[in-house]
Point group: D2
Chain length 98, copies 4
């Protein structure tokens, strides 16, 4: 039976990305670039991502330069992209100010 | 000459609060209650308030319970409310998601 | 059978506090005052407490004034102090710089 | 007259790095890798770095993967490394738990 820790197939990843605007596949990761009005807004986003990641016990690769944040998600143990990545991507996307 | 560290008069405080929706006077402080969609959103706000406060070298009294945050501002050295408080209140207000 | 969401007895609370230096009982809460070298250090602690709380899905009452942070823990649904509070208190205590 | 926004010479950079354990030169940046006990500790560090950066109005390039954080500092306007970078590096270093 498939679990959330199993690697998704290319078809499954494509289907998941269709519901994740801004996210793209980058090899064995999914990745999105975020841009905020300034550094302080980016920092508020990072704090939220951190709490969501700790709650999920699944942590992103995160890069920040001033008002820009890039998040990359992959499941190390599975050697690829799993439902844990797409679930966290969905939660993170909900934190972007509209 | 008035500086930003001088206590504001009651008239000046009233005028400042007129441009600060949600803020009210509470004795020698100004105070506002914020409510967010959940704890994570409140935490993102707190991180932003922290960076703004450190930048201004002026720090609020902050209380958080789950999705609620209360901020109180006062200028200890002046023994009351100054332009530093109303300026930081303005900056903090701009961080609330609409 | 006792669960982590059951109210602890006075005896159990006393026993738990014996292993939680700095924490004291305050009615139906446990509480500790923390002091850091400056506001930035307090903010780093708050960010950590936030992530731990979100992970535990159990959130403190938190107050911050400059380099001081007070944390109070209680389990609302149980109407008192439970093992969730003492567990989170233990985790929070481990985040204080020595 | 030299200002904190002037590019440092190679000699000046070498002298500054001698007092900044763990920092190394990487072309037109200075860089340090930090490792913490876990993600939560890394997050607490990031929150502190964010507040320090906002206070200095000078922001790092920051990367985080689980318990690891890398900070790179450069002064864009100067096209290289300035006293703003070495000053912020000193402040950031003081935030690492011993």
């Amino acid at each position: 039976m498939a679990t959330k820790r199993d690697r998704l197939t290319d078809t499954e990843i494509g289907a998941a990305l269709a519901s994740l605007p801004g996210w793209r596949r980058d090899g064995e990761r999914i990745r999105r670039d975020f841009e905020f009005k300034d550094f302080v807004a980016a920092l508020g986003f990072i704090a939220q991502v951190g709490a969501l990641a700790e709650r999920a016990d699944h942590h992103p690769e995160l890069t920040n330069v001033y008002n820009k944040v890039t998040i990359a998600l992959s499941t190390h143990d599975a050697g690829g992209i799993t439902a844990m990545d797409t679930a966290l991507a969905t939660e993170i996307s909900a934190r972007v100010p509209v």
